[in-house]
Assembly symmetry: C2
Homo-oligomer: 496 residues x 2
């Protein structure tokens, strides 16, 4: 047996064991009025791409049909791997003419089933569109194809003295096209801002195969409607992003991390305010972890707090240009925070290995939770600072009997709380809906958002009419109709 | 004669003397198929607003019909001053039903005639919608009505420790609604980024009077299409912005400014690179001024270089949180720049009055040029850094005989060059078109943008089909049709 075949069987087994039920069945979805792939369609795709890039083998397809968190699973029987914008254009043009639904896919790390098919959509992957096209070393403007892995872009930029203004847990897998399409946020948004601010240009293919050139590489360019923003955060439902031009800032020369222990959430907020005053322009991340999450980290990830047990933990990072200044700022902050009793304990790291050791505690959380499969419910919320943690108690109370434990951690610096719930039992659809309803009701009561950075994808699409005013939703639907009249692009997602 | 009447007459005389020819005549514009204001329309508006806020007096109307640079002049005979979103909604609903064209107007500081009517559009001003509604002191999120003057918001934020992430020359006059609608840039974009990154939420009224609530005050909120971006930079042609929610960063505690003399543009670019390395996170502005501009400043504005004569000048600013660190960084930079011969001379200011003295040199330039009326042609371009100044020579050559002098200055840090030309004679339409054609051709040859931050307005609308691909323009037109099917909002602007 060839090595490749063995590997494929291993993969197949892994996916068969872990694979969730088919989405269409689990969520009782009604298939849209699209055609199904016929032999002649496959033949046509083999004319556009070479045969190797038209994948129809069910074993090979499994991982493209299943999402990163094993929550959803499509039944697509074809995967296309274009290498050029022209190929994407030809594919979409054909699919639009023949009413074949399409699921654009990047690194397939969506937390909400946004990147896998629901039925038999044609999966169009960006994985072979992975070239970094150019870098302007005067300005830090990088132009790349949509399938570039985020971390690869950053590694390419590092020796040139620039940094990608985005850092998320999935950076080793996710594609920049997906990051743009989902307006990915992550840990350093507090320093760099979001994709709407950092993307200078986009090339996208619309549903009918038209190539839309919004490839400005200028920081200021006010010439007409800023169409690129239509494709940022619309999760592949308005167009297929093929190229991205990013403004990358100078790479900070020095990093420091600190891990702090605090007594209660009120002190967490006060410490955050103090942090902003002292560290201001060098503050690049402010993450919070609560006690249940730290206990989970200890048990599941075999990692531990480096400073002993406290009710809350803050992980902060500075990124600056002058080692001595950065350290001085951090120490001035720590001194005051300790003196005023805002923090109870803290440790600081300046060496890369030690910084990474601190960060890995935070970065590994999501992987730990993945092991819980459907017993784990994850909520990616935004809340006004004052109520960031207040939301947990009412959720615990309202889910008593159903939940085993409720966890709160996340990007405090941006008001982004990752709220996770481990249920006592496997989540049935009915159970999940009940808990969802509780969480979303509380989020609404606190004027928060039910999706801070993960988007809507498939799993939250059904809630859109509850959280958006009717005329806002109507406009979204009309924008969708304008750009994709046959509704072939990523159906069942975002707007349904 | 009452004081008010005297004042009005003075105003009228001033405007009559300076007023440009009527736009419709000067540019030979064909009026759109809109209805004209009738008595019953005025009566209806008097029902929506009280009489005082329905202005029909031709003297009062003059300044609303004429632009800031005396380039264009409309013939509107009615100005409405709503105080609430509901009033804006009622006005637009009525205008849409009755096919009356509308010109939304903020502080009327558009450089391209974007904010005054071309014919008899109903002017709807935001000047009475000037309340700051709330500030979240934990996060720096400020919610305000569209008619707040930019500087007033900043003054309100100053004692609370925050800063508006936008600073433009017209700050004492321009309205935040206009800033958002034009995606205003300014001097500190290098530090704070543009409006797409800083606006968290928008309330806008669409052409049919529908109130669109995109008023998220959360930094991360990925729930469906990010519709607010449709209104950022579309210059009031897709909707009337009524409220804005801005993310405001902590106000830097310390500022420093430096004024440097340099030998040539190559050294300007090298100095900019050195600047980014040394000042990195505290660098908040990098402005360049060339010799002709400095001579102009000396002659017209009676200001002078504080360091004597050099071929080029850089004005830089730092904004940071630690006085000693900031000054040390600046001195380390200056030391190296002098030692390596990148700069020939320089002066540094740390006291507010001295900083302001340096800045006023730069800030007053636009006012000086205004005095030249139609002999002065202004171009707001973006260029890749390496060609930022290279563009001037070919423009001088190609306009020889027509131009008296060509000036280059601007926001180097963002690649934004303000290129001004003083003509030998008053600009006829034909002459202006010839010079425009030269400039735009050169900008295109250098892969630049013909509008970095000023937008398209009325004056550049005719060039849109030359600078945008056909399908991009089509999509813009379709978006316009979707949001404003009768084309009542700011007609003759941006997309024609």
């Amino acid at each position: 047996m060839s090595k490749l075949l063995k590997f494929q069987i291993t993969l197949f087994r892994r996916y068969s064991q872990n694979s969730p039920e088919y989405t269409k069945k689990k969520f009782n979805v009604i298939r849209g009025n699209y055609n199904s792939i016929q032999k002649e369609d496959i033949q046509h795709f083999r004319k556009i791409l070479d045969s190797k890039r038209v994948v129809t083998d069910s074993v090979d397809l499994e991982k493209y049909n299943t999402d990163w968190f094993f929550q959803v699973r499509g039944t697509s029987n074809i995967l296309l791997k274009p290498k050029t914008t022209q190929e994407v254009s030809s594919i979409l043009h054909y699919c639009n003419e023949n009413k074949l639904a399409v699921c654009p896919q990047g690194g397939n790390t969506s937390a909400l089933g946004g990147s896998v098919p629901v039925f038999d959509e044609v999966i169009v992957s960006t994985e072979l569109m992975n070239k970094i096209i150019s870098l302007d070393e005067d300005s830090g403007v990088v132009t790349c194809e949509a399938g570039c892995i985020l971390e690869n872009i950053d590694k390419y930029l590092e020796p040139k003295g620039f940094i990608v203004p985005l850092d998320i847990g999935a950076k080793g897998t996710c594609h920049i096209g997906g990051n743009v399409s989902t307006n990915a946020g992550g840990m350093r948004l507090i320093k760099f801002g979001n994709m709407h601010g950092n993307v200078l240009g986009i090339e996208a293919v619309t549903a009918n195969g038209e190539i839309l050139d919004c490839l400005s590489n200028l920081k200021k360019d006010n010439t007409g409607y800023h169409l690129k923003h239509l494709f940022i955060g619309s999760e592949g439902t308005l167009g297929f992003v093929t190229k991205v031009i990013l403004q990358c800032p100078p790479r900070p020369k020095y990093r420091n991390a600190a891990f702090l222990g605090l007594q209660n959430f009120d002190k967490v907020l006060k410490t955050f305010k103090l942090l902003k005053g002292h560290l201001a322009e060098i503050l690049s991340a402010v993450e919070v972890i609560d006690t249940p999450t730290m206990e989970f980290i200890r048990k599941e990830n075999k990692q531990d707090s480096p400073i002993g047990d406290y009710p809350f933990y803050l992980m902060i990072e500075t990124s600056g240009s002058n080692e001595q200044h950065d350290e001085e700022k951090l120490h001035l902050f720590l001194e005051e925070a300790l003196k005023t009793g805002l923090i109870l304990n803290g440790t600081v790291a300046s060496e890369p290995a030690k910084i990474q050791a601190i960060w890995s505690i935070r970065e590994n959380i999501a992987n730990g939770f993945r092991a819980y499969g459907s017993r784990m419910l994850q909520y990616d919320t935004s809340l006004p600072f004052k109520d960031y943690y207040n939301i947990l108690e009412p959720i615990k109370e309202s889910t008593e009997g159903l939940s085993e434990r409720v966890f709160g951690f996340g990007h405090l610096g941006d008001g982004n709380l990752h709220l996770q719930i481990i249920l006592k039992n496997e989540a049935t659809d009915e159970l999940k809906s009940r808990v969802d309803a509780v969480v979303f009701e509380k989020v609404a009561a606190f004027n928060g958002s039910i999706s801070a950075e993960h988007g809507i994808g498939f799993l939250k699409a059904k809630y859109m009419d509850k959280i958006k005013p009717k005329n806002t939703l109507n406009l979204m639907r009309n924008v969708k109709k304008l750009l994709d009249p046959n509704g072939i692009l990523n159906p069942y997602k975002v707007i349904v």
